[in-house]
């Protein structure tokens, strides 16, 4: 029972880890990424379609990442180039993904809301799970040890300093947002071709926001963020386990309380009641050279 629970924890936290790491790149670079949810959703759709066409989950997830990047590019156009309010633009991107995916399903498969099922031999068994943890380490080294990691940090903390040091802030932000799209897309892919057998309408169901919560919980750092994803994944796994299970007599256990736990914890952390988490200083502020 416990082993099962842990296994399912690892599985359900995989999409969260991808998306949260994606969010880390863009937020550390100073671009708040509410649009994570939409990028994930389009990524899930792209991966499902890609796999159905190519019969390969690897090519499929490449499609998913491509879809995420595409949406991230649109987000970047508004949030970086046109200096739109990042929250507003992010909200719009989420709506767009939510509307576009069933729309495209209808056009491609003449079914509203979902793709046809993907045969089991064309889906991932475990690969994304391992990949996600490899990625955690890669991101950790990236942010700590590479020049671009340092630039990303400064783009979010003190963009003027980065500019004065001769690095183009908005290029760094573009890079970060596109990476963000790719990783969120991969997160979506691991939902549609790893955890389930097809794409369905709004299948992310708030996981993008949960990834954002994990990012805050993890203080915008790769390893703690991944651990936060595990915690949230555990909550989800427990909740799936307990669905409909009755304990102590007849009443089923209300899973809703477990469901809201990650969100509640995030609020408490952000308010400094439990630990403290400080956002990159320039997150949300467009950068403009005179």
């Amino acid at each position: 029972m416990l082993a099962q629970l842990l296994a399912s924890t690892l599985r359900v936290s995989t999409p969260l880890i991808f998306a949260a790491l994606g969010g880390m790149f863009s937020e550390r670079a100073g671009v708040v990424n509410i649009a994570l949810e939409g990028m994930m959703l389009l990524g899930a759709f792209g991966a499902a379609v890609g796999t159905l066409v190519t019969h390969s989950p690897w090519l499929g997830s490449a499609c998913g990442m491509g879809a995420g990047i595409l949406l991230a590019a649109l987000y970047g156009l508004f949030a970086i180039r046109l200096r739109a309010n990042q929250i507003v633009a992010g909200t719009a991107i989420n709506m767009l993904a939510l509307g576009l995916t069933p729309f495209l399903c209808k056009i491609l498969y003449d079914v509203t809301g979902s793709t046809p099922p993907i045969p089991i031999d064309q889906r991932f068994r475990t690969a994304p799970l391992y990949l996600s943890w490899v990625l955690v380490l890669v991101c950790w080294v990236w942010m700590k040890r590479t020049p671009s990691g340092l630039w990303i940090s400064f783009a979010g903390e003190h963009p003027e300093a980065l500019n004065a040091a001769g690095i183009r802030v908005n290029r760094v932000r573009w890079l970060a947002v596109l990476i963000s799209g790719a990783l969120a897309g991969m997160g979506g892919a691991s939902l549609s071709i790893f955890l389930s057998s097809s794409f369905s309408r709004n299948m992310t169901a708030g996981r993008g926001f949960m990834a954002l919560a994990a990012l805050i919980f993890g203080k915008w750092k790769p390893v703690p963020t991944a651990i936060a994803c595990l915690l949230f994944g555990f909550a989800e796994a427990v909740q799936i386990r307990l669905q409909g299970v009755s304990l102590l007599g007849s009443k089923p256990i209300p899973v809703q309380f477990i469901q809201i736990l990650p969100y509640l914890v995030t609020i408490l952390v952000l308010a400094g009641f439990v630990g403290h988490s400080r956002a990159p200083k320039a997150a949300g502020t467009p950068f403009q050279r005179e």
């Binding site: 040890r145 590479t146 020049p147 400064f154 903390e157 040091a165 001769g166």
Partner: protein
Amino acid sequence: MDSSQIVDDTTAAVELRALSKQFGGVRANADVNLRVERGTIHGVIGENGAGKSTAMKILYGIYRPDAGEIFVGGKKCVWASPSDAIAMGIGMVHQHFMLAGPYSALDNILLGAEPVRWGFIERKKARERLESLARQYGLPVEWDRPVEQLPVGIQQRIEILKLLYRHSNILILDEPTSVLTPQETSDLFANLKKLRDEGKTIVIITHKLKEVMSFTDRVTVFRAGKVTGEVETSRTNPQELANLMVGRKVVLSIDVPPARPRPETAIEVQGLSLAGPSGSRHKLSDVSFSVKRGEIVGVAGVEGNGQSELLQALLHPRESRCRTAGPVRYLANDVTVWDAAKIRDLGVAVIPEDRQSEGLLLERPVSENFLLGLQRSDAFSRAGFLRLRNLEKTATLAVEEYDVRPRGLMNTAGQLSGGNQQKLIVAREFQRQPQVLIAAQPTRGVDVGAIEFIHNRIVRARDEGAGVLLVSSELDEILTLADRILVLYEGRVVAEFQRADVSERELGLKMGGG
């Protein structure tokens, strides 16, 4: 790249020709010509907003000029970004340091010039080089501490090391001494002289005549976006430079009759303290003074020695950062636990330090700015509703009386010039019939005519019985207006004088911690 190898020594290190730059219709630089000789310390002086920083930021590639040319070592250059300027050996220490607080000194220095091997930053190698640089110039730094935990003087040191690390030959420093103690200032200039003697070219932006006179070789003077003179320091004197800076004789024309203080106290504080961000001198510790009605008490001091904190503490005494040994009293009321609105309602007028952020709603019309802070006064509200007709009537009269131009109430505050913005604030605050007036830097960046006008108003308020606290970093202003003078240094009141008993020299000495 080392540009000095390419050309002979007679060419200027830097030359700006006919540079112009506008920001949203405001002309920051117009037809600026400037020549900096190689191996000199070159002063660039002017009042706040005269365009010195803008010109230097163009030279460093942060701003793009609307017109004009830049020559470095005799070669024409067009910068796409600071990285091009850096490549040509130009470096800049900005007035607001370009340091990210949570990151280490080392990372802040490396940024943009990281030594890389196999795609990774070689921090060890960078550190070795920095340590040798630090030894060479006597600039030790704790490399691994987050910069936000280091004092301001060290932060500046980090900024200078940044330039040395990048092999900059031309060092631009923007107001480098505004945050330094006198000791740190003399250390800084000793270091700069050392750098000059090793062949580096140094440009210092400042508005302090004294520094220019004692440390520079040549000076360029800015006024209102233009260059009004370029002279050798040894052949000029402070008076001449001052005239070039302000375009008028710097003799303030108003004559202030002596005060007749009344016995009643306007403001009284005992042991007032306010914590600032850690590691900075920006704090207030254990300040006690009182202001009687009918007198002007001047608070002199170099900016950043606790003035902002004093103003915060006076208006928001109940905030948690604020500590006080005795009660804070306004007009015989103990206001220690009052909120700002209640304090203001006693008849406390405030001319805030930073008029654009604290004084005005820049995007709102003049009429609403006139209402700010008075929105619950009987004149402009009844039962929670605004009396807009009254507001319009009163504001129209006030705009006329205080000569705010243009006159229209529907212009946004942001459309007014600095002087007119300040007059608008004065008009509004005097609407309160002040019993207490707290005026901070009341004439900063304001044109001559408006200065006189504002000074006269302050004196008139005093003569009508208000207690005035005047916080200013302009010595002239303090010496002209104040009846008593307190000197704020490192957050403490270090001296108190009667105006008649103190010379400018003595005051300057105290302001420098002497």
